[in-house]
Amino acid sequence: MFSNTLKKITIWVFFILIILAVWAVIIAISGENPFSAFGYILEGSLGDTGYFLSTLNKMVPIMLTALAVAIPSWAGIWNIGGEGQLLLGGFGAALIGFSINLGSSFLNILFALIVSALFGLVWALWPGYLKIKLNVDEVVTTLMGNYIASYFVLFLINYPFRDHSSPMAQTKYIDSSFQIPYMFRGSQFSYTFFIALGVVFIFYFIIRKFKFGYEIRMTGSNPDFSKMSGIKTKKIKLVSMLMGGAVAGLAGGLLVLGMNHRMMQSFSPGFGFTGLLVCLLAFNNPILIVFISFIFAMLQTGSVNLELFSNVPAEISGLLQAVMVLFVSAFKIISMRKGGK
């Protein structure tokens, strides 16, 4: 038993070394010494408190958009629409933040976050509904939804809700009573991180311990059988899709309330897709989602530093992430086959 675990660990250490080697090759091709490049990445993500906190900050949208893929995926349905849901959620929070005031900061933040989740939920509703009613392929609809949502938000911040005092297409700032306070001077790190982490753990708990979670798991594993067992599989699929949308919308809300304080053009550098990669890499496991979000956030914040000190553009982080997903997928399959024999 023990030697088996040891063997597994050895194999995975070996796999990680291979991935690092492939990363090194990519960096070397782009004309940089891999070791110094890794150094810049590490320094720019963990080098000091400020860097470390911005890495944690980066985790917020990544973790939540990954979860937004994972929840429907447990029920056997794909949500590729995290990006659009995040944008709409962000807009929803901003809209509340600059237009109303409930009198208490706590209520304000709570209400804005609920609205952001609702906006995301609505954007998951129609693909989910079309899937369960007509079996319209949800991969295509959620993906198209991203483009539609992103142009729609662009329209909103360009026309009806544009802050005309600004040269850029963006909304007004939200009222300060909506801002989730920063925790440290000189860093944008705020309670959003703990809210996001909390949401991940809540869903971890739901999927493992709740009856509802049990029904989601069974539906994802064998819908025909689940139906025979009296589970309303279509409802489960739809609800899991809505939850996914809500979580992605919440990610947008947290970004607005905790960091940007307004909705703006290029609000998201593709968080939805980074989240998708994280979820694929974590095999839908919430705990792994947290760890891998950390690694991806490190790569993203670190590669900004890398670009500053070398000729390697920051886009390398996306490349390294995608390569990692491909290799880990292959390794997992190989190790499962080896493990079987």
């Binding site: 311990k209 009856k211 509802f212 049990y214 689940s226 025979m228 009296g230």
Partner: protein, 510 residues
């Protein structure tokens, strides 16, 4: 004619063959076999004895772990089906390998279409039609080359399967349970067809567990049990009962009788049930308390649709379904289950279990709706208690712990888990479809006993099965479905297998 009399050379010799799967399962633990030229050699054994695995190895679909195979006295390595075909081996599979959306001729030439292809890869369908048509004529089959397979009845699809194999002109033909899907009257014609093949000089390996058929056509018989060869015999040297006992390994009671717990009161009634576009037409029957009602019929005569209607998966257009005077016609499966109906589906992998989830998770399915297992959170203690009980009561073997996935269990143990789960409810009526397909004799007996026990307290069973032996051994009454209608009813002990099969095949109608 026995093998000695034939005195043919050995065409296939197998020595000490074993097959061990990555998960540790040993399908074959040492098999020896020698097949002589021009004979019909039957391989018999229980489900799971290793017959199909052995044949798949000979046909190059599976690689053996150890052991040797010789064809015409030369040791060979059959690494692919292509190699097997080159060596003159053809195999008719238990599960159809034909493609429903292609025509008969496309199916037949699949794999040898190169012979009809020009330089640009274009297929000459005209010559194919001629050639396949000739073969059909020669074999005196009632098929047309251009029929789409999907539209043919099962019996004819089987012929397409065989046609496809014979087309390649094999010298050795493996038939894996070819009669499983045929009705009794079709079986005789088919067996004549097999004898005809032998008369043309072909060697036939015939896999079956139907001893009557085996004794009708074989020259030699090899018995497999638990992945091992028990023995090889000339037909004259052994009797049917001896073979039966060798297969099972212990004396088996062939004289099972239905339980005697019937009461006068009617528990469940179906009245004038019809479904447009589906197989079911004006079906009416009722089940008394404590009764086991069997539904016989050849596959595809409405059993699947009847089951779907009774689960609530499809809503019927007219008619009523009543359990103890409660109308359930339009209710969902959840409501039906709550009223006291339990279901055993015909395909445990498809909709009876979630095989990649744990034993625990599978064991509490539907039970989880009960408050005992918690309102919001799942009550782990009660769940474990329930499933442990099922595992013990129904002798589910191979359970390392509750978290192991169901896929690690053997077919029979999966089925026992499923049956145990379904019977652990407050069951008034059990609707079971093919409850013992693909399980061994011991599991079958256990499952039948649990059905009988259910009737002791006045509960009933609706047993849909294509296994006539099963139906006759435990049903109090049998109704026959033919083309979606009930065409006959038999009452224990007036069961006549001949009569039954006449109704099943439509030779007789009410």
């Amino acid at each position: 004619m026995g093998p000695d009399f034939l005195g043919g050379a050995e065409v296939i010799t197998i020595k000490d063959l074993t097959k061990r799967y990555p998960n540790g399962f040993e399908a074959l633990k040492g098999v020896n076999l020698s097949v002589k030229k021009g004979e019909i050699h039957s391989i018999v054994g229980e489900n799971g004895a290793g017959k199909t695995t052995l044949m798949n190895i000979i046909f190059g679909l599976i690689k053996p772990t150890t052991g040797s195979i010789s064809v015409d006295d030369k040791e060979v390595n059959i690494s692919s089906t292509g190699k097997a075909i080159e060596m003159g081996i053809g195999m008719v599979h238990q599960h159809f390998m034909i493609v429903p959306n292609l025509s008969v001729m496309e199916n037949v030439v699949l794999g040898s279409e190169k012979d009809f292809t020009n330089f640009f890869g274009k297929i000459d369908y005209k010559s194919i039609k001629l050639k396949v048509g000739d073969l059909i004529k020669k074999l005196k089959l009632s098929l047309s080359p251009e029929d789409i397979v999907r539209d043919l009845p099962i019996g004819k699809q089987q012929l397409v399967e065989i046609l496809k194999v014979l087309y390649k002109g094999p010298e050795i033909i493996i038939l894996d349970e070819p009669t499983a899907v045929l009705v009794p009257t079709e079986v005789n014609d088919f067996l004549d067809f097999v004898i005809n093949l032998k008369n043309e000089g072909k060697t036939v390996i015939f896999i079956s567990h139907r001893l009557k058929e085996v004794f009708k056509i074989s020259d030699s018989i090899t018995v497999l049990r638990n992945g091992k060869t028990v023995g090889s015999y000339s037909k004259q040297d052994i009797t049917r009962d001896e073979v039966a006992n060798l297969m099972i390994g212990k004396k088996f009671d062939f004289n099972a009788t239905p339980p005697k717990n019937e009461k006068e009161e009617i528990l469940f009634s179906v009245d004038d049930l019809s479904l447009k576009g589906m197989m079911i037409k004006n079906i009416s029957f009722n089940i008394k308390k404590g009764e086991i009602l069997g539904v016989a019929g050849v596959e595809g005569n409405g059993q699947e649709d009847l089951f779907s209607v009774l689960t609530g998966d499809i809503l019927p257009e007219q008619g009523s379904v009543k359990l103890a005077d409660k109308e359930l016609n339009k209710s969902t499966i959840l409501e039906k289950r709550k009223a006291g109906i339990a279901y055993i589906t015909d395909d445990r992998i498809k909709n009876g279990l979630a095989i990649d989830r744990s034993i625990l998770e599978n064991g509490i399915a539907y039970h989880h709706k009960d408050q005992r297992f918690g309102k919001v959170l799942i009550n782990n203690k009660n769940s474990v208690k329930l499933v442990t009980g099922i595992v013990e009561d129904y002798d589910v073997r191979g359970v390392k712990n509750m978290k192991t996935p169901v896929s690690s269990l053997s077919g029979g143990n999966m089925q026992k888990l499923l049956v145990g789960r379904e019977l652990n409810n407050q069951v008034k009526l059990l609707i079971a479809s093919q409850p013992t397909s693909g399980v061994d004799i011991a599991a079958k007996a256990l499952i039948h006993d649990s059905f009988k026990e259910l009737t002791v307290e006045g509960n009933s069973v609706l047993l849909i099965s294509s296994d006539l032996d099963e139906l006759m051994s435990i049903s109090n009454r049998i109704i026959v479905l033919y083309r979606g209608k009930i065409v006959a009813e038999f009452k224990y002990p007036d069961y006549d297998i001949k009569e039954l099969s006449y109704y099943m095949t439509g030779l007789k109608e009410s």
